[in-house]
Structure formats: structure tokens, C-alpha cells
């Protein structure tokens, strides 16, 4: 004889129904009393020390009630009035006290000490640069880009120019420091030779280069006239246009020399970003006279832009 599973199962559950009305009523009462005595969240464990009675009622954990199934509902609520301080309080309060009394003051003092040192350093650095500039002035070498400049001076200048962003800070400090100085003009002239000003970076030289931002910051022109042959043009994963180009001839002078840079050689193959707006149906195999620019902080360090006359 087959039995109806669905019917019998439902009947079995129905025959064993719990009486929950007392619990439901108590829970509603607890919520309402919590609401009338303040805007506390029903059932929350937030403890308000100013209202201990209300809070103990509102903090009844409804899922814990099962443990007392045989007891009257209100009795259960009363039991919860014994408030226990959570264990984490004993750790958190001393930790907070230590933090406030020891770590923060010490940290503050150390920070102040550090700042003092830093300001002292900042004062010293411009002086060094000024000395350098002065020595250059004394030896009547104003055109520091020329080969006549002393090798020491060149090295120092290159370091300041290309090594890192701190260099620019130094340059800026030098401007400030030099203000009002009687050799102000000559120093600025020298420094300008070695420092990429914001005008250079954002100026006309770069306005046509529309390589997306992801290509990095253009830190300057390496050479403004290099004849290159396009070997292949493609896009990288980020949708930036790249080209492999062969150096045919270096026609212009080197303007900017990155720290790890060696001069281009004929036949050398570079991978470089190319402008997005440089439209030529088939660049492959064509030769252009290009401006080669330096891209800092990027895997690909070159960007080439065909000279306007050639486009």
C-alpha cells in the first residue's frame, strides 16, 4: 500500500505545531516599550547605561529564547536583565588608553622632530644648487648644454634634471632662494636649461601629441628631428597606438637626455607610442621625420610624433 508522502509530511508537521503566541506578544511588547522609551533599535545589543531597564528588555536575543522553552516568556525577559560586560571591553579600553596617552603623543613628537630635520635639509639643498650655479657663472659657462661646460657640472645637472621628482623640488626651491639675489638672472637662466618647466611639458610642443593619458607623462623632447621608418603599427591591451620604428638618421640635436639613455643609432629599432590623431592608412614601411619624446614611469619610454611638415 502506497502512502502519500506530501500529505503525511504536512500532517506530521501540523500535528507538532508549537505555541508561539506568548513569545510573539512579548517580542511586540518589548519592541513597543523600547520605541516609547527612546529610539532604540528593537533587539539590538546597543547598551545605554542611562536606561538600564529598557535596554535589558530590548536587548533580548530572540534566538536565545529557545534555551528557555519551558519557562514563561516574561520570565525569560527578566533573566536578561543581568547585564554582562562583553570581554572585548577589557581589552579595548586599556588599548585605547595606551594609544591616547603614549602612542599618539610620541608619534606627534617624532613627527615634529622629523619636520625640523626636513626643513633644515631644505635650507641646505638650495645653497648647494646655488653654489653649483655660481661656479658655472664664475667659469663663464652660461650655455651649460654646450660641450664646453665642465663634466662635473653636467653630471650634477643631469642628476637634478632626470633622476626623480625630488629634483624638481630642488629646482623650485632654487627659484625661491634666488629671488632678490644679485645673480638671480644668470642662475635662472642656467637652471632653466636643466629643468623642465611646466610650460615645456604642457606647451605647444605637446599639444599635438594625443596619446592617451595612460601612456604616462611626457617629460620632454629627446630629439626634435629623427628620421624613422615605420615597421609595424598596432594597439596594446589598453587601446593605445604603438609602433615599432627603425632609426634611419638623427637629424636634430638632443634636447633632453634621460638618465639611462644612450644616443640613437642608425638601424636601432624603438617601440614608441604614436599619436591617436595621426591618420595614415598604411604607415608600414613609410619614413617620417619625427619628434621623439620621453615618457617617464612607463614600460615604453618613447613617444614619437611626426613633424607637422611631414604629416
Amino acid at each position: 500500500m502506497n502512502k502519500d508522502l506530501s500529505k503525511e509530511y504536512k500532517e506530521a508537521v501540523m500535528n507538532d505545531l508549537p505555541d508561539l503566541w506568548g513569545r510573539i506578544e512579548a517580542a511586540i511588547d518589548a519592541e513597543e516599550s523600547a520605541k516609547t522609551n527612546g529610539n532604540e533599535t528593537p533587539g539590538s545589543n546597543v547598551i545605554n547605561f542611562s536606561k538600564p531597564e529598557n535596554n535589558t528588555v530590548s536587548s533580548v536575543n530572540k534566538y536565545a529564547v529557545n534555551a528557555y522553552d519551558n519557562e514563561p516568556v516574561m520570565g525569560r525577559v527578566e533573566k536578561k536583565k543581568k547585564f554582562r560586560i562583553p570581554a572585548w571591553v577589557f581589552v579595548a579600553i586599556p588599548s585605547a588608553a595606551i594609544l591616547l596617552l603614549v602612542i599618539i603623543p610620541v608619534g606627534f613628537l617624532m613627527t615634529r622632530g622629523g619636520m625640523g630635520e626636513k626643513s633644515a635639509t631644505n635650507m641646505a639643498e638650495p645653497a648647494t644648487i646655488t653654489t653649483c650655479a655660481e661656479s658655472a657663472t664664475d667659469s663663464v659657462v652660461y650655455d651649460v648644454a654646450s660641450e664646453a661646460a665642465s663634466s662635473d657640472f653636467e653630471e650634477e645637472a643631469e642628476e637634478r634634471q632626470y633622476s626623480d621628482s625630488a629634483v624638481n623640488e630642488n629646482a623650485q626651491l632654487t627659484y625661491d632662494f634666488a629671488t632678490g639675489n644679485e645673480k638671480n638672472e644668470s642662475k635662472e637662466g642656467i637652471i632653466n636649461e636643466y629643468t623642465l618647466s611646466s610650460e615645456t611639458i604642457n606647451g605647444d610642443n605637446f599639444s599635438n601629441l594625443t596619446t592617451p593619458d595612460a601612456a604616462g607623462e611626457f617629460n620632454g623632447i629627446i630629439n626634435d628631428n629623427v628620421s624613422v621608418k615605420f615597421l609595424s603599427v598596432y594597439e596594446n591591451d589598453e587601446g593605445l597606438r604603438l609602433a615599432d620604428v627603425e632609426i634611419i638618421e638623427v637629424l636634430g640635436d638632443y634636447d633632453l637626455i634621460p638618465a639611462d639613455f644612450k644616443e640613437f643609432e642608425e638601424g636601432e629599432i624603438l617601440t614608441a607610442y604614436i599619436p591617436a590623431d595621426f591618420e595614415d592608412s598604411d604607415l608600414n614601411g613609410k619614413e617620417y621625420n619625427c619628434i621623439v619624446k620621453y615618457v617617464a614611469d612607463d614600460e615604453i619610454i618613447y613617444a614619437i610624433e611626426p613633424k607637422k611638415a611631414d604629416r
Binding site: 502506497n2 506530521a12 529557545n66
Partner: protein, 177 residues
């Protein structure tokens, strides 16, 4: 309860009269409890969620707007609350499963030997694994589809249907269709 009677109960609740809720409770406790029990699968937890359900109904009465059948509406809320509970307590459920799996299930050959006529539905369900019982309960008591069960438990639907079929096979041997 008719729709009118149910609306009248809701109106009483809106006036903070708990008797409206009591009438709904008396009428639908079994229906709601079995839906919740089907999902939760454990008596104590089912009681807790059922309690929450009626408290929630009391609190939401003020903003309640019934368009469809109130019975379907109540079933949907109950089922969702039970599913939420299972999801929130999945860790403890997993522990229960582990304990349950420590109990050796009744072997098939022993099932065959059992006197079929003597076995109650509770005993028959006890021969299933906890996971099989959960699917059967959700399907039969909570009236959920396999897809709903799959989503509620976060288990592929193929697994759910397979468990259900395995469970039904075992129950058939015990005389349940």
C-alpha cells in the same frame, strides 16, 4: 480567512490591536510554520523565524498594501525570511551537517528489511541524509521550485534535482509516493 476578513485584521493591527494579529496567527500558524520549517529544517530555528515573521507582520501592517492573494503574500514573506535565515546561518548549518553525517545512514538492504507498513513519515524521512531531507522539505512543505531551492541554498540545480530524486527513490522503497 477571506480577503475581507484578512484586511479587517490588518486594520485592527494598524490600530495597535493585537487581536488582529492573533486571528491571523490562529488561522495561518500551521501554514507559515510548515513553510519555514521546510526551509530551515530544524524545529527550534523554525520557531524563531516564525516568531519573527509574525512580529514583522505586525510592524509592517501600517504600510501594507495587498494587491494579490494575502495567502500568497504571507507565504512569500515567510519563505524569504526562512531563506535569509539559512543564508545567515550557513556556517552553523554546515556544522549540523557534519554532525549529521557522523550518524550512519540506514543501509539500503536494511531498509528493504524494514516492515514498511510500520514506518511513519518521520521515520521514513530519518532514513534520508540531512541534505536530501532539506531538499524534500523545501519542495514539499515550502512548495518551492528546484530553481528556488537552488538559489536559496547556493547549490547547482542539477545537484538539487539529483538529491531530490535519490530521496524519492529511498522513500518509495518505504512505501511513500
Amino acid at each position: 480567512l477571506t480577503q475581507e476578513k484578512f484586511s479587517e485584521c490588518i486594520n485592527r493591527i494598524k490600530n495597535k490591536d493585537k487581536s488582529g494579529l492573533k486571528d491571523i496567527y490562529d488561522e495561518y500558524l500551521g501554514y507559515i510554520y510548515s513553510i519555514i520549517y521546510g526551509v530551515v529544517g530544524q524545529r527550534e530555528n523554525a520557531e524563531d523565524v516564525t516568531q519573527d515573521f509574525f512580529v514583522k507582520l505586525y510592524n509592517m501592517a501600517e504600510t501594507m498594501e495587498l494587491k494579490d492573494s494575502h495567502k500568497t503574500f504571507l507565504a512569500t514573506i515567510a519563505r524569504n525570511m526562512a531563506i535569509d535565515f539559512v543564508r545567515k546561518n550557513s556556517r552553523s548549518v554546515a556544522v549540523d551537517d557534519f554532525i549529521e553525517e557522523g550518524i550512519e545512514p540506514v543501509a539500503n538492504d536494511k531498509v528493504e528489511e524494514t516492515v514498511i507498513g510500520d514506518m511513519t513519515v518521520t521515520e521514513a524521512l530519518a532514513t534520508l541524509s540531512e541534505k536530501e531531507r532539506q531538499v524534500v522539505s523545501m519542495k514539499i512543505l515550502s512548495d518551492m521550485t528546484f530553481n528556488e531551492i537552488s538559489e536559496a541554498l547556493g547549490i547547482p540545480m542539477g545537484t538539487i534535482t539529483w538529491r531530490y530524486q535519490e530521496a524519492i527513490k529511498k522513500l518509495r522503497r518505504l512505501g511513500y509516493e
